[in-house]
Amino acid sequence: MRIPCPYCGERDSQEFVYRGDASPRRPEGEDGFYDYVYLRDNVIGEMAEHWYHAQGCRNWITVLRHTRTHRIAAATLSRETPA
């Protein structure tokens, strides 16, 4: 699978480390950490995912990818993409 890193360009997915769903936000206060750490939606469809370009630019990117077809619609630098 090829992932379009916003900095490096399209690269083999083996250069990246997959983390998971990019939509959960780290809670500001005390509550909500259990959901944040453990609970995830099981999505068939397009999902925002966090990938780390470990063997490239070492930046985290947010990838919009369809979980069944693997088609990638977009990829942006996570630091520029509020969740």
Binding site: H50, A54, R58, T69, R71
Partner: protein
């Protein structure tokens, strides 16, 4: 000999010698092993998998299920090689498989007598009782009787290569459609790759007697290839089979030197191609179906198109008295080819209507029986053919060859690799690709366009589509003059009235009655029938059997074939050597090896090395006369604790964290405070995962207000870097902080022991290492050999100790310098074992304790968790289950009988408690022999451990030597007050 005196695409000027089963034969350059065997009248080439039936060559292509041979000998021997795909070379040696003592007299053919037992699913019904017989009796028997070829069991000595390719269009298959497509797109300037699995492109054009643009098809192919070779944007790869379609890429194997006696120096045997292409055309043609009648697996029965291939391409006639049994127009061409080659031919077609070719066939002396079927064939090899005529009467024909034309299956396997389900076409009576992987389209026979003219038009059209898609330009497709010959089939899925076994899957010995049995036993789903009968599960993945099997199942379950469905093909489409997937990465090169700057020096000292992740680290440094590693390690520990020892600790991860918010970020990553750390000081820190479990630990030094130097454990270096980047890029992008890995920039040596200070003062006379200048946990920069160096007063050993860092290019120089200075102090090199013993003596948690299940509190570091700030893991570490004080906590253990050796892994039980899970109170995490205390010691996790110092406990270790009585104690065995480290 069945070799024709003229014709064929063989080079009669280049005769070749080869052996098969030890017997010598000859062939020509351009032959395959199969065609040469045909030319030499070799009818018997193997024994079938289950029944050990005598088998001959069935096809002329890569779909071959029967002619599996072991090619070459010794370490290069490759079993299950299809003789039809092997280019003959001089000196080739091949042998048949699955027979003993010989091919002709195979004792295991007695399996056939037991065939009523060996029906589909027999594994599930037999060999079950008594249960204890399975391992010792049944399994070894089955293992000996089953199987095809045997491995040499020697390491594969071949070299394998890999390449990455990028193009605008990948054309898979170089037959009529593929060449037309490649030419169209190549002329329009697209970057085109054409991959063809055969020794030379051309596909069926090389096996039929067609004409294109008023020249022979073979000449046309040569012309097209010449033009493609002249285009710099086109690359044609022969002997290259695409075996899998994956997300965004196609993978193929190029057989670089398999057709040579031996590769040239440096030449790989095979090359793996990973091809990235937005567009691809599946021009893989179609595979001819056998017909299902009695004895259709006997030597001398072949597919009709294979017979034409042997006659036309290889000038080898597989028989002199042929019966062509066909349901398809293409079978009539085979009859014509056989007659032209001098064979006597009887054509049996179950259809009533005759195609146009009938007239020509009659003038060539071919007897035509329309509306007739072959019910059984007899003889090993074929001798007699039973025919039932249109009027119901029967005839028996003498024949030495039966050519069967059951119709054509588009070779769409690759198209379903990514889940696209093929769709039944009522008009074509076959499965076609409907939905396809993105960018992939079938063309030609693979798209159900079976005539030559249609294939050319379709290939050119798909080529123009690719050009339009890639460039937006509309280019007119080239046109070629060729025959739109009759190419229809009226499928005959099963011949009624057969008296002997009718085979469906030749390689796995699955018969029509097996399919019917599966249906009767309830395995009516296509997927169940496949596994129950094993139809389609052999190395050929059912290329010649699948659709026949599905049609039988549909009939047996009263459904249409479309409703019964079909199977999706799995990659690899053809068998692939594991060596080509591994490429360079095997044995010592399996993965990268990382070496530190002192590696060569350590090797000179006779160090024994150990793997720590990808690194090689010195484990210990044996001296002559030492009887065991334990003696060596004891000496290293003792000499370090009494004098000074030096250890390479360069492998630990090192990260520069810089910027105005560096301190703030570190506060959020570590459980303890770092913003309060003074410049020139180091502090030990622990990082948690967000779920509250300890992730890593290390010391971090502050060199400036906005400059920190973070260290991690060796194995977690990459993980921590990723974690820091996640924190600063995703969690808190508003912070102004930068992080860079400098693991490789610095070579670091621990210098430990009561004499370490004096030794370092001697090594660095211009550096003040007094206790005032460099107190415990202090750090300083200095210059050495013109470069910046660092010294840290840190101790993992519990002794007075330092760590000295220089740029890695000076690391070798430094280690030699340290030992030169150290000579007067009896400095000893120590490795990871001694390092481990000393840290256990000091109760320091390391990898065994940071095991992904422990919290900071478990490890006795609960009080380090700051209450004044948020940090990763804070909230979840406070969960009841993780904050429970009676959780297993870090303790020290020593054996009551001081001569006993403790081992990691034993479980902890209260004395007298039965060894049951409900009584399990923890386990031993790390153990070592302490030369300092002269007895074995261990660290462990014990329920309520902090409260139980002094108690007796039982270490339960039934697997290795039984239980040991132990005392629970302070995990800090040596210098628990920590006096030495502050000297």
């Amino acid at each position: 000999m069945s070799r024709l005196s003229a014709g064929g695409l063989i080079d009669r000027q280049r005769p070749l010698s080869f052996t098969f089963d030890g017997k010598a034969y000859s062939g020509f350059e351009g032959d395959t092993l199969a065609s040469a065997l045909v030319a030499n009248d070799v009818r018997l080439v193997g024994r079938s998998f289950k029944y050990h039936r005598a088998r001959g060559i069935l096809t002329a292509g890569s779909e071959e299920p029967n002619a599996l041979v072991t090619l070459r000998t010794g370490a290069h021997a490759e079993p299950n090689t299809r003789a039809t795909t092997v280019s003959l070379f001089d000196g080739l040696e091949a042998s048949s498989q699955n027979r003993w003592p010989s091919l002709r007299y195979d004792l295991l053919a007695v399996n056939q007598l037991a065939s009523p037992i060996f029906v589909a699913g027999f594994y599930y019904k037999t060999f079950m009782w008594p249960a204890k017989f399975w391992e010792k009796v049944y399994e070894p028997l089955i293992r000996r009787a089953a199987g095809l070829g045997k491995l040499s069991m020697l390491p594969d000595p071949s070299e394998y290569d890999r390449e990455h390719a990028f193009c605008d269009l990948l054309v898979i298959g170089g037959g009529a459609a593929g060449l037309a497509a490649a030419l169209t797109a190549g002329r329009a300037g697209l970057r085109v790759m054409l991959a063809d699995e055969d020794a030379r492109p051309g596909g069926r054009l090389l096996s039929e007697r067609q004409e294109i643009d008023s020249m022979s098809a073979v000449q046309w192919v040569a012309q097209v290839l010449a033009e493609l070779a002249s285009l710099p944007n086109v690359r044609v790869l022969s002997r290259t089979g695409v075996f899998g379609v994956y997300d965004d890429e196609y993978v193929a194997v190029e057989r670089v030197s398999d057709h040579l006696v031996a590769p040239l120096p440096g030449q790989p045997r095979q090359r793996l191609w990973k091809i990235v292409s937005r567009r691809a055309i599946l021009a893989t043609g179609a595979i001819e179906r056998p017909l299902v009648f009695g004895g259709n697996d006997l030597p001398g029965v072949m597919t009709a198109s294979a017979v034409s291939t042997y006659v036309n391409r290889y000038a080898a006639v597989p028989g002199q008295r042929a019966v062509v049994f066909t349901a398809s127009d293409s079978g009539w061409s085979t009859a014509r080819d056989l007659a032209a080659a001098g064979a006597s031919v009887v054509l049996v077609d179950h259809r009533e209507d005759e195609p146009a070719l009938a007239a020509e066939l009659r003038t060539r002396g071919v007897e035509i029986l329309s509306g007739a079927i072959v019910t059984d064939v007899h003889g090993v090899p074929v001798r007699k053919v039973d025919v039932r005529l249109a009027d119901g009467s029967r005839r028996t024909l003498r024949a030495d060859l039966v050519a069967m034309g059951g119709g054509w299956n588009p070779a769409i396997g690759l198209g379903s690799n990514m889940g696209a389900k093929p769709v039944w076409s009522e008009s074509q009576q076959t499965f076609l690709l409907d939905e396809t992987p993105p960018g992939l389209v079938p063309a030609g026979a693979a798209a159900g366009r079976f005539s030559l003219a249609q294939a050319l038009v379709d290939g050119a059209a798909k080529g123009t589509d690719a050009v339009a898609d890639a460039t937006g330009r509309a280019v007119p497709p080239p046109s070629f003059r060729a025959a739109d010959e009759a190419a229809s089939t009226a499928p005959l899925w099963h011949v009624p009235g057969a008296r002997t076994k009718c085979f469906v899957d030749f390689q796995n010995d699955v018969t029509a009655s097996d399919v019917q049995l599966a249906a009767r036993e309830g395995f009516v789903s296509i997927e169940h029938m496949k596994r129950y009968t094993t139809l389609g599960m052999a190395t050929d993945q059912g290329k010649t059997s699948q659709l026949n099997g599905h049609a039988l199942l549909a009939a047996a379950t009263d459904r249409t074939i479309g409703a019964a469905g079909t199977i999706m093909s799995r990659a690899p489409y053809q068998p692939v050597a594991i060596g080509v997937l591994a490429g360079h990465h095997r044995e010592e090169s399996f993965r990268p090896v990382r070496r530190t700057a002192s590696h060569d020096w350590a090797a000179e000292q006779g160090a024994t090395f150990v793997d720590a992740g990808q690194w090689k680290r010195a484990q210990w440094f044996s001296r002559p006369g030492e009887a065991s590693w334990l003696e060596t390690v004891n000496r290293e520990v003792t000499m370090t604790r009494r004098g000074v020892g030096i250890c390479d600790v360069s492998t630990l991860g090192k990260i520069d964290v810089h910027g105005p918010d560096a301190a703030l970020l570190l506060d959020r990553l570590y459980i303890n405070m770092f913003s309060t750390l003074a410049v020139g000081k180091a502090r030990y820190g622990v990082m948690l995962r967000e779920d509250g479990i300890v992730m890593d630990d290390g010391t971090t030094t502050r060199f400036a207000e906005d400059s920190f130097f973070v260290t991690t454990t060796t194995v977690n270096a990459a993980r921590v870097m990723q974690h820091i980047d996640y924190a600063r890029q995703v969690l808190w992008p508003e912070l102004d902080v930068q992080a860079t890995s400098v693991t490789e920039q610095w070579a670091t040596y621990a210098v430990a022991g009561p004499r370490s200070r004096e030794m370092l003062q001697a090594a660095f006379p211009d550096l003040d290492v007094s206790n005032d200048a460099l107190p415990f946990m202090g750090a300083a920069k200095f210059r050495w050999q013109g470069f910046e160096a660092r010294i840290y007063r840190l101790s993992f050993s519990g002794e007075l100790a330092y760590e000295v860092s220089v740029p890695a290019t000076l690391g070798d120089k430094l280690v030699r310098h340290l030992f030169a200075a150290g000579r007067s102090y009896d400095a000893v090199p120590y490795g990871t074992e001694a390092l481990g013993v000393m840290r256990i003596e000091k109760g320091h948690a390391a990898g065994n304790e940071l095991n992904g299940q422990t919290t900071a509190a478990d490890l006795g570091m609960g009080r380090m968790m700051s209450k004044k700030k948020d940090f990763i893991g804070r909230a979840m570490a406070a969960r009841r289950g993780l904050a429970d004080p009676s959780r297993p906590a870090l303790v020290g253990l020593r054996p009551v009988d001081r001569t006993r050796h403790l081992r990691g892994g034993g479980h902890l039980l209260a004395p007298g408690a039965a060894p049951l899970p409900q009584n399990d109170e923890g386990f031993v995490t790390s153990a070592a022999w302490s030369p300092t205390l002269d007895h074995s010691i261990a660290l462990g996790l014990l329920v309520n451990g902090a409260q139980r110092h002094g108690e007796r406990i039982v270490i339960h270790d039934p697997v290795r030597g039984g239980d040991i009585q132990a005392e629970v104690c302070n995990p800090i065995f040596v210098d628990p007050e920590g006096v030495r480290v502050r000297a």
